[in-house]
């Protein structure tokens, strides 16, 4: 479903060169849940943003369902509509109500009628457990509720893949659980997911595969079992010792 080949993203400026993503290759199969972990600044978020073309990578290839993002002829807007993304800072549209947040892109991009879009939106709001808030503005919601709306907003586009960029990092601790529960449910339903997170519990419980990145490179890949019981690389061991 996703195939990355030697992806590089290098920032240059003011005489400094940062090799944020430095030759990452990996594959994600349909229905697979891949968790990317690593210290901050390891390039995991940048790599995730490359997958839906929010970040334009400098070299290498990323194929989504066989379509190459590096190909100039590829319509990135079309790809993005198929790849949902959930951000650390939620990024809900503050001037629109919850239900408008869910219907906007359906109407503009998927060209659905308002009625159809609202039916879809209500289904998803029920699924993430905030159907009673549909007429509220995002500022009236708690962080956990906002993030669940953000997940529902991405799902409203019927994406084939969901990307999560540290979805629980900006939340108060007591709200982390409700967001992770929604994500676990999605994983059980067979959604293809790539999750950048610091939630080791989630990685252990839900991930089919864990990727450990450091300094823009993939250091180690394995099943959660392998990862949390017998990591091979020194840097992985060091990182796990610090976070567990």
């Amino acid at each position: 479903m996703i195939r990355a080949e030697n992806v590089k993203r290098i920032f240059t400026g003011r005489g400094v060169t940062v090799r944020a993503v430095d030759g990452v290759s990996t594959q994600v199969a349909k229905g697979e849940v891949v968790v990317v972990i690593g210290p901050s600044g390891s390039g995991k978020s940048t790599f995730l943003r490359c997958i839906n073309g929010l970040e334009i990578f400098d070299s290498g290839h990323i194929y989504i369902d066989g379509v190459d993002l590096a190909d100039k002829k590829t319509n990135l807007n079309k790809i993005r509509a198929e790849v949902g993304m959930v951000f650390q800072q939620f990024n809900l549209f503050p001037h629109k109500t919850v239900i408008e947040n869910l219907t906007l892109a359906q109407i503009r991009v998927r060209k659905r009628s308002r009625e159809v879009a609202e039916i879809k939106a209500r289904q998803l709001l029920t699924k993430v457990g905030i159907s009673e808030k549909e007429q509220e503005y995002p500022s009236r919601l708690s962080g956990g509720q906002q993030q669940r709306v953000a997940i529902a907003r991405a799902l409203a586009m019927d994406p084939k893949i969901m990307l999560f960029d540290e979805p629980t990092s900006a939340l108060d601790p007591e709200m982390v659980g409700e967001v992770l529960d929604v994500m676990k449910q999605l994983a059980r339903e067979g959604m293809t997911m790539v999750v950048v997170t610091h939630e080791m519990g989630f990685a252990r419980e839900v991930a089919d595969r864990v990727i450990f990145m450091d300094q823009g490179k993939v250091v180690e890949v394995g099943t959660p079992e392998h990862f949390f019981t017998s990591p091979q690389e020194e840097r992985t061991k060091l990182f796990l010792k610090q976070v567990l």
């Binding site: 807007n77 990024n91 906007l104 500022s139 991405a154 586009m157």
Partner: protein, 319 residues
């Protein structure tokens, strides 16, 4: 002292200071040798215009029919031609069977008309309104061009903004009327409105740019991640939020525009300021007229600020 202290002592102090200032101005005005003639001012707001009704041909007054306030006078010529004139009853100048020559006055009708102060204010309002709308469109387009990644587009926007902000509006109006207006054969109204719109547009562009850049990058990314194009994201996500934020500086700009529109009086557009000057030349009531003109500008600008205040509260529902 309680955290929520009484406000009335401060209100009284404010009133005392304002009254004191007014009294000081009043006292200062008394010391100069000036005869105030306020009674001359009202006629320049509204006046009763008189319309003379004259005999259209040589004729005899064949009938006078009085109604309540108006009178119908029927004139008949030698050849049997008839004409009926409606005039005000108290202005009747003829009797039945009078012989009239063509052009003799039969009477008059009177009606209330707007005086120069009102027509001047109306001119100021519509000139400000049209140049404000045009300035908003120009400013929006230029503001978007200013943040474009294309160097040519953003360069053009910067050149325009710098030129307009770096030269006096008065000079721009002269250039617009005497130079551009001569080349393209523009009327003074078009030249005046054009100069004001371009002037406002440059300032609005900077306000719009700041507004768009104040919206967090995440908003654009979220919209793009849902497959929306840049124009769609701008229109549905970024601009509505930016507009809400730039409403206060934008309204300040439009209030400035209303006041700056007084400068078009230099190219002989009879706006409120020029009407004031013309009235002074015939009445010599300099102080009264300028004070009245200032008050009329204040009325227009405060109506606008109230309107914006109302809009701000409407927008605040999503906060």
């Amino acid at each position: 002292m309680k955290a929520t202290g009484q406000t009335w002592p401060w209100r009284i102090l404010l009133a005392v200071i304002l009254i004191g200032m007014a009294a000081a101005i009043w006292g200062a005005a008394k010391t100069i040798d000036y005869e105030w003639r306020w009674y001359r001012v009202p006629q320049y707001f509204f006046y009763e215009a008189e319309d003379l009704k004259k005999a259209p041909f040589d004729s005899v007054v064949s009938a006078i029919e009085k109604k309540n306030t108006t009178t119908a006078v029927t004139l008949t010529s030698e050849s049997g031609e008839k004409a009926v004139l409606e005039i005000d009853s108290d202005s009747l100048k003829v009797d039945a069977q009078d012989e009239l020559f063509m052009g003799d006055t039969v009477g008059l009708t009177s009606h209330w008309k707007m005086g120069p102060l009102m027509t001047g204010m109306w001119t100021t309002i519509w000139i400000s309104f049209i140049s404000g709308v045009l300035g908003l469109i120009i400013g929006l387009a230029t503001g978007l061009a200013r943040i474009s990644k294309n160097y040519t587009v953003s360069g053009l926007a910067i050149a325009y903004i710098e030129f307009i902000r770096g030269t006096p509006l008065l000079v721009q109006i002269f250039i617009a009327y005497f130079f551009v207006g001569t080349v393209f054969n523009l009327s003074r109204n078009v030249a005046g409105i054009g100069a004001l719109a371009l002037f406002a547009g440059a300032y609005v562009a900077e306000i719009v740019r700041a507004g768009i850049q104040s919206i967090s990058r995440g908003q654009m990314e979220a919209a793009r991640s849902l497959g929306m194009t840049v124009p769609q994201a701008m229109l549905d996500v970024i601009l509505p939020q930016a507009l809400k934020r730039i409403l206060p500086p934008l309204s300040g700009q439009f209030i400035s525009l209303i006041k700056d529109s007084s400068l078009v009086s230099v190219i002989a557009i009879t706006d409120l300021t020029k009407s004031g000057r013309e009235i002074i030349t015939s009445t010599f009531a300099t102080f009264e007229v300028w004070l009245v003109v200032a008050a009329m500008y204040l009325v227009i600008t405060s109506v606008l600020s109230q309107l914006v205040f109302y809009m701000e509260r409407r927008f605040a529902v999503s906060d």
